[in-house]
């Protein structure tokens, strides 16, 4: 059983959703970077890195950083820089970069090089996340979205080959042609660091992970809980289909976590910051405004379904019970007893062996983040570790 602290390093100084959406269509692509204050930004990086370091001190198993471009949602255009800092600030935890958006790097051997550096620098603690990149990032980088997935798959092949095949060798693909692939350094972990891929439930992605022995990390904070249930079952089915044995640590659940003394207090304290996360920062790919989903990034039937679900969410009836509505998308908000019971149920029922805990979200301030993280690490994680039987039953 692995518990990771996952950080987005968001910009917390924008207005709350109602005010923000009155003045802006999205927090992505076009929200002016004049909103970014580098003086405040310096404090934020210091604080956010410390929050990840604290996860090691509190006994969690790993930390996760990730790549976003040209938005207020995540301030790590180069997560590898953060991971590099963490190799020096931590000594035990796994460091997961989830991940590098391969189609945005040309040639993607750059990713093979930097991740090998991180693996060597960290003493073999790297988990290599490889991602297609978000839809909005195709607007921001002008990489052609209609070939995103084909380019991604070829880049994964290139990176894995670069890590495992003695160089120099020539690579002659559809998208990448390199006469000399020969990156120094090579990764410390052999044959290569574990590969994890995050997903929102695309059957193609789930099957791809299962067939290649990659971890599948289901992103759960935008979808209702039954969506992740489907994803978990689909991954285990696909693993069986591929003739592999199921490794629970390769099935991850990425979810928001907030722990306080009581359920009431947890909901009350978390609510405005979850709303900021889901309403302000996520505006741009979920929400009523612009959906920065480029043409050809997903196929038209999937896009039509995505928009129909989004519209139902946007125009659906206001919840009569706000706490129940909050729990539907963020079940791990509550007292230690509530959170550990709910977490244990998911772990044992779905076979999840890796929990990626988003312990800071939206505008959640340092003080609340620290208290919740401590309660989670001290009163939830040990209990779930002791009672978890991931993969035991379905």
């Amino acid at each position: 059983m692995n518990f990771f602290s996952f950080h987005l390093m968001p910009w917390p100084h924008l207005p709350a959703p109602r005010q923000f959406l009155a003045d802006n269509e999205a927090a992505w692509v076009t929200l002016s970077n004049a909103h970014y204050d580098p003086v405040q930004g310096a404090d934020l990086y210091e604080r956010y890195l410390s929050e990840l370091v604290r996860a090691e001190e509190l006994g969690l198993d790993g930390v996760v950083v990730n790549e976003h471009h040209q938005n207020a949602y995540g301030l790590m255009p180069s997560p590898n820089l953060m991971a590099a800092a963490l190799t020096r600030e931590t000594s035990r935890v796994k460091i997961c970069v989830l991940g590098n958006a391969l189609p945005l790097y040309n040639p993607p051997t750059r990713v093979a090089e930097e991740m090998a550096m991180l693996d060597v620098m960290s003493g073999g603690r790297l988990i290599a996340g490889l991602v297609v990149g978000g839809g909005p990032e195709y607007y921001s980088t002008n990489v052609n979205p209609t070939e995103a997935r084909a380019r991604f798959r070829e880049a994964v092949d290139l990176v894995l080959e670069a890590w495992t095949r003695p160089g120099p060798f020539a690579f002659d693909g559809r998208f990448y042609q390199l006469p000399y692939v020969n990156p120094w350094p090579r990764p410390l972990q052999q044959p290569h660091p574990p590969v994890w891929i995050p997903g929102l439930g695309s059957p193609g992605t789930i099957a791809y992970c299962a067939e290649n022995g990659f971890g599948y990390m289901g992103v759960a904070y935008y979808a209702p809980p039954e969506s992740f249930v489907r994803q978990a079952h689909a991954y285990r089915d696909a693993v069986a289909q591929a003739g592999r044995s199921f490794d629970p640590e390769l099935l991850g659940w990425l979810t928001t976590v907030y722990v306080a003394d009581t359920d009431e207090r947890a909901v009350e304290e978390a609510a405005p910051h979850l709303a900021y996360f889901q309403g302000t920062l996520a505006a741009g790919f979920v929400g009523p405004g612009k959906v920065w989903m480029p043409p050809g990034y997903i196929d038209p039937p999937a896009l039509v379904q995505f928009l129909a679900e989004l519209r139902a969410m946007v125009e659906g009836p206001r919840p009569s019970d706000p706490a129940a509505a909050l729990w539907r998308r963020s079940p791990l908000v509550g007292s230690p007893a509530t959170v550990r019971d709910r977490l244990l149920a998911v772990v044992n029922e779905l076979g999840v062996g890796t929990v990626l805990s988003l312990l800071q979200f939206g505008s959640l301030p340092a003080s609340l983040t620290a208290r919740s993280t401590t309660l989670y690490a001290e009163e939830v994680v040990p209990y779930v570790r002791a009672h978890a039987t991931p993969g035991a039953r379905r």
């Binding site: 076009t30 009523p288 612009k290 959906v291 043409p295 039509v304």
Partner: protein, 296 residues
Amino acid sequence: MTGAPAAPAGAVDGPVPAPVRALLSVGDDDVTVVRGGRGEPVVYLHGLCDLHATSDGAAWTPFLGRLAEHAEVIAPALPGYNASTGVDRLEDVEDYVWHLGDIWAASGLGRVDVVGHSLGGWLAAELALRRPELVRRLVLVSPLGAHVPGLVVPPFFGAVAPRGIGGAGEARRLLFFDPDGAPAVSALPDVMTREQQLLWFGGLAGAARLGWKAPHFQSRKLSSRLGRIGVDTLVVRGVGDALVPAAMARAWADGLASASLVEVAGAGHCVALEAPESVDEVVRFLRGGAGSGVAS
């Protein structure tokens, strides 16, 4: 092409029959082709927002219905549009031009007049440049493809990004002279059916395949080679076209070896939907009356 009706000899009166829509097998790909009308064959290469993008070819658009009174119209759907495949395989202008040549061959076409609108105008010009044996005369209706240094055009793909509450984003405002007029609302309604969305998003993927590179739909290479296109050409532009500003239309007319330019009042980029009567200029040109309009 099967099931395409031959133009009935001498039948020049009466309503133009509905077009015949068929799926043509071209190399490794399928191509939806809408065909019908009476007269000499004219290939129509559609644009971003008309036939195959916002209507599926079961009926003519008004522009094509009028053109079909004077010509046999053959209107293939570009990759991604309607049921045409090829977005995964075709990568660039070079591939598209060979693909068009294959469509010509599969349709039994030789050297024919070509009317290209918007995205189709770009490809019609590229075809005339590289396969002159396939193009007799050119009509370019609000053609994309030209690049004018320093001229900033609103980014199409950002404008058409969908919205969480539905609809086609800012597409109507960008593509039409009157975004709330009947042609605009009919093509891109605030609430689109599933079928309309599939058609529209499939077409956008096809458009992105070729035109995503910024600035969208602009080819420096084509602009530098316009003078090599020798066929007589009519350029038609809606006065409110935000994607083809006046300076860009002028660059087409000045760059091509033999071209005249007509501006259409009350129309934006989607001239063919907003001002179907502009087809009269096209017909006059194809009958040999080039330059009879508001020529350059």
